[in-house]
């Protein structure tokens, strides 16, 4: 137990909890200033999401997309690549999966399977260009992926408006996906669950993708921490020169880090079009890319921590929604809190400063003693040559 308390992991968790506490406190202080009934508002914020079933459903749905995005970013950040193209990959994944389900003439199960595969494949390929440019030309992957994000969004808009949207559409959206092609609810259609199922389905639309996502989390974890590929990724991320020295093919690893992350980003897109919105429409992905990055950072690039971080943020988001609907505080407050938490968590000097000062002091004392000893020997050194 003592080792655990001293361990780095524990310190990390402590740091995150501390940052959260500070963030939430600051949020409360802000609420005091702007609200007529701050206590009620903050109560709604903190407890709202679990007060009603449909709210729980909303919470889960939002978090699920974020989990997938967080996983995608984990993969690429583990290799220390500043690739932020997950938004573009997700958007194209959403497009492709929606199109397959709406238009490809195959029986439903095959259609949906193909949709999944196509989304992951497209997202994988979309990262190839910035990946190769970074690996072989050392082109700044932040800028190239940023550019291609916009290209992806524009491509999405173009294809939606010109090929997918029905003629007499009233909004920038495709037709809704018909019932028989929709993903089933996450509660299985078994006799024992009938009541629960009815209850849930009336209030929420959480789909069976939950299981896919759980599988994805486990898959990402194994990929990153149990396979040789994951080892290569993390070693390149830890010290590129060491990786090369040890024999790892660094260029190939860099390319794969970005493309493989596409698998998860593509799935996130599938979740958007086949689970949350049940169609392909403009604005599905707004801002989610950066949220995913936020979550991966909070989770310390560990796939197992991603669901926790995503559920946490999802919870805060849902709570903010409730707060807005029932009080006079707007929900953007939660993003402000998230931003502060992010800053505090990544300020490496914050917690360690105290720790380091203590250990630095100890080291200095040691050295002073060493120098005293050396000087003593010098003065009495008979070996002058």
């Amino acid at each position: 137990m003592k080792n655990f308390l001293k361990s780095k992991g524990f310190r990390e968790v402590l740091r995150i909890l501390l940052a959260l506490l500070i963030g939430l406190t600051l949020g409360f202080i802000i609420t005091l200033f702007v609200s007529d009934d701050p206590i009620a508002a903050y109560k709604a914020f903190l407890f709202g999401p679990v007060s009603r079933l449909n709210r729980i459903g909303d919470w889960l749905e939002e978090s699920l997309t974020l989990i997938l995005l967080g996983l995608a970013v984990c993969i690429v950040f583990s290799a220390s690549q500043w690739y932020i193209g997950v938004e573009g990959q997700m958007v194209l994944g959403a497009l492709v999966s929606g199109v397959v389900v709406l238009f490809v003439p195959l029986p439903p199960v095959w259609r949906i399977t193909l949709a999944f595969i196509a989304a992951m494949a497209v997202a994988f390929v979309w990262a190839i260009i910035p990946a190769i440019l970074k690996a072989y030309l050392n082109a700044n992957e932040l800028v190239t992926s940023l550019m291609l994000n916009t290209v992806a969004l524009k491509l999405f808009e173009y294809l939606l408006k010109n090929f997918i949207m029905p003629e007499k559409a009233r909004s920038l959206s495709s037709d809704m996906i018909p019932d028989e092609l929709r993903l089933p609810s996450f509660i299985p259609n078994l006799p024992i669950f009938t009541e629960v199922r009815e209850l849930w389905m009336k209030q929420t639309s959480v789909t069976a993708m939950v299981y896919v996502i759980i599988a994805a989390v486990i898959f990402a974890y194994f990929l990153l921490y149990k396979t040789s590929f994951g080892y290569e990724l993390r070693t390149v991320g830890s010290n590129k020169k060491f990786a090369r020295f040890g024999g790892i093919n660094v260029n190939r690893t860099i390319v794969l880090s970005m493309t493989v992350s596409g698998i998860f980003a593509g799935l996130a897109g599938v979740h958007l079009s086949l689970a949350i919105y049940n169609r392909v429409m403009m604005g599905m992905s707004f801002g989610l890319g950066f949220e995913g990055i936020n979550i991966a950072i909070l989770a310390g690039n560990n796939p197992l921590a991603v669901p926790i971080a995503a559920l946490l943020y999802g919870y805060l988001r849902a709570g903010a929604d409730v707060m807005e609907r029932t009080s006079d505080v707007s929900r953007e407050l939660v993003v402000v809190i998230q931003a502060l938490v992010l800053l505090l968590v990544t300020a490496e000097r914050l917690l360690p400063t105290i720790q380091r000062r203590i250990s630095d002091q100890r080291e200095e004392n040691n050295n002073n003693n060493k120098i005293k000893d050396t000087k003593r020997t010098l003065k009495g050194d008979p070996n002058e040559s």
Binding site: S228, R234, T235, N239, F242, F245, G247, N249, I371, S385
Partner: protein, 514 residues
């Protein structure tokens, strides 16, 4: 006449206990060219860093022009008219020559930089001191010789009267060296004083007025250059080495394991760093490379291990030529490598000890399990290695950053040795680690040599090279200058002459022993 620079009784002890300067007295007269020589670890760089304000002496006094000085940083030294040109140039690549010369103190006109004045200043300084540069050339595009002249002009712009040059010819071609010397003579004729650190004794004879020799942190002596020969200087530089108490049984060497033929390497700045290097490594034998750092040892190892491309030549391991292969291909031929720079190449400090131990083998049995790595095996093997090599850590799952330098080196040694290599390249294997770890590493080297590995040892510690090696070659300016088939029978002074390029064996002489 009082000396211009007078360093009195300088002592410098570093935090880790290393005594870099031990009661050094060093003085320089105005207008002279003063060479400061010594081999690796002699303390000459440290002494000059103290003079330039980059380090503070633990004890001792600095006197410049009969004033005692206390330097808190280089800015103070610059104010005292001392300038230094380091081995790594401090230039901004996209700026022009002239812009770099005046950087930090640009002349102004009406609040804006006076570009004409910048050019004029540069050109005037250049003409005055015979340091040819193209004032409006972009630094990124000019050659190393000109870059060095820019650095010198920088010091002159800041009114340096005393110039310290740290191994200035290390990066120059012979032609560029001649140009530099011409420039130094002009500088001195115009009243400047030049101190230059070097180990190239031919140059000391060619250009300096006086020379100071240091060895192991102590000042050995200062003499007029005309009164001393290169052999005498070499004798002063290479002292009575501390021979290690190592139990090295005499064994018969076995088959040839690696054959290096006509290996050449050209740096990114155009210098020929390795020239037609030839040698062989044999099973059960340690071949030591003796030489002052900076004569091509680093590059030789990088080329052999696949980290850098060769300009020509072959490196045969078994029957295969591994020159210009990838590091993995070289490792697959059972060539292991203890790198010179352990923090950069040898370990990944943020990864765990276990992860550091498997980088060369994670894709092979028994670690490999389909696409997975069997971390139970990793744990077991790592524990065994940690125990066998005495790595001080409660668990292999801690990051390497939690280890001391000595223990980090043990991790590297554990990994490289346990791969059961046919050939081991060991570069500075005991640099910067504590006494216990040092002893340990040396013992291990002897052990695997006894077990049949062919070892190439490169070390700046001459005593270590002479004690551990069975056979020694000397490397000077990228060429093998001598081979000594029986290391136990060499006199270090003799070795010093070959290390410093004063003596050289002919190709014919060396052939059968390489």
């Amino acid at each position: 006449m009082k000396p211009l620079i007078d360093l009195k009784n300088i002592v410098k002890v570093y935090d880790n206990g290393v005594v870099a300067n031990d009661g050094v007295n060093f003085s320089v007269n105005k207008g002279e060219i003063h060479a400061l020589v010594g081999e690796n670890g002699a303390g000459k760089s440290t002494l000059m860093k103290i003079l330039y304000g980059m380090e503070k002496p633990t004890e001792g006094e600095i006197w410049v022009n009969s004033d005692q000085k206390h330097f808190n940083s280089s800015i103070d030294a610059i104010a005292a008219t001392i300038g230094m040109v380091h081995q790594n140039f401090m230039l901004v690549p996209s700026f022009t020559v002239a812009e770099n010369v005046v950087l930090g103190d640009e002349p102004l006109k009406n609040g804006l930089i006076n570009k004409e004045e910048v050019l004029k200043i540069t050109k005037d300084l250049s003409d005055q001191f015979g340091l040819f540069v193209q004032p409006d050339a972009i630094v990124d595009s000019i050659n190393v010789g000109m870059r060095q002249r820019v650095e010198i002009l920088k010091t002159l712009y800041r009114k340096a009267e005393i110039l310290i040059l740290d191994e200035p010819t290390a990066v120059l071609t012979p032609q560029e060296t001649d140009d530099l010397f011409k420039a130094i003579r002009i500088l001195v004729k115009q009243g400047k004083t030049v101190i230059f650190i070097t180990h190239k004794l031919r140059e000391v004879k060619e250009i300096s007025d006086r020379v100071t020799v240091m060895r192991r942190g102590k000042m050995i002596g200062t003499v007029d250059t005309k009164d001393v020969t290169r052999e005498q200087m070499a004798n002063m530089m290479v002292g009575r080495e501390v021979f290690l108490d190592i139990n090295k049984p005499k064994i018969k060497r076995g088959e040839k394991r690696m054959s290096v033929k006509n290996l050449s390497y050209v740096s990114e700045t155009g210098r020929a760093i390795l020239r037609n290097v030839n040698f062989n490594l044999f099973s059960g034998e340690i071949l030591g490379i003796a030489g002052v750092e900076g004569n091509g040892q680093t590059e030789l190892i990088e080329v052999i291990t696949g980290l850098k491309p060769a300009a020509g030549g072959t490196v045969l391991v078994g029957e295969k030529d591994v020159v210009n292969s990838t590091p993995r291909e070289v490792r697959m031929r059972k060539v292991a490598h203890i790198p010179e720079d352990r923090l950069t190449n040898g370990v990944a400090v943020r990864s765990t000890i276990e992860e550091n131990l498997i980088v060369d083998r994670y894709f092979q049995k028994p670690y490999k399990n389909g696409v997975f790595i069997n971390y139970n095996v990793v744990k077991k093997e790592s524990e065994a290695l940690i125990k066998k090599f005495g790595i001080l850590t409660p668990t292999g799952k801690l990051p390497v950053s939690s280890l001391s330098g000595g223990n980090m080196q043990k991790v590297i040694v554990a990994r490289e040795f346990s791969s059961d290599p046919d050939v081991l390249i060991a570069a500075q294997p005991t640099r910067g680690i504590d006494v216990g770890a040092t002893e340990f590493v040396r013992e291990q080297l002897i052990q695997i040599r006894n077990e049949g590995t062919a070892i190439l040892l490169v070390s700046a510690d001459l005593g270590e090279v002479m004690s551990l090696s069975d056979r020694i070659v000397t490397l000077y300016e990228g060429e093998i200058t001598g081979v000594f088939p029986d290391a136990s029978k060499i006199d270090e002074k003799e070795l010093g002459l070959y290390m410093l390029g004063i003596k050289k064996q002919s190709a014919g002489e060396m052939e059968k022993y390489l």
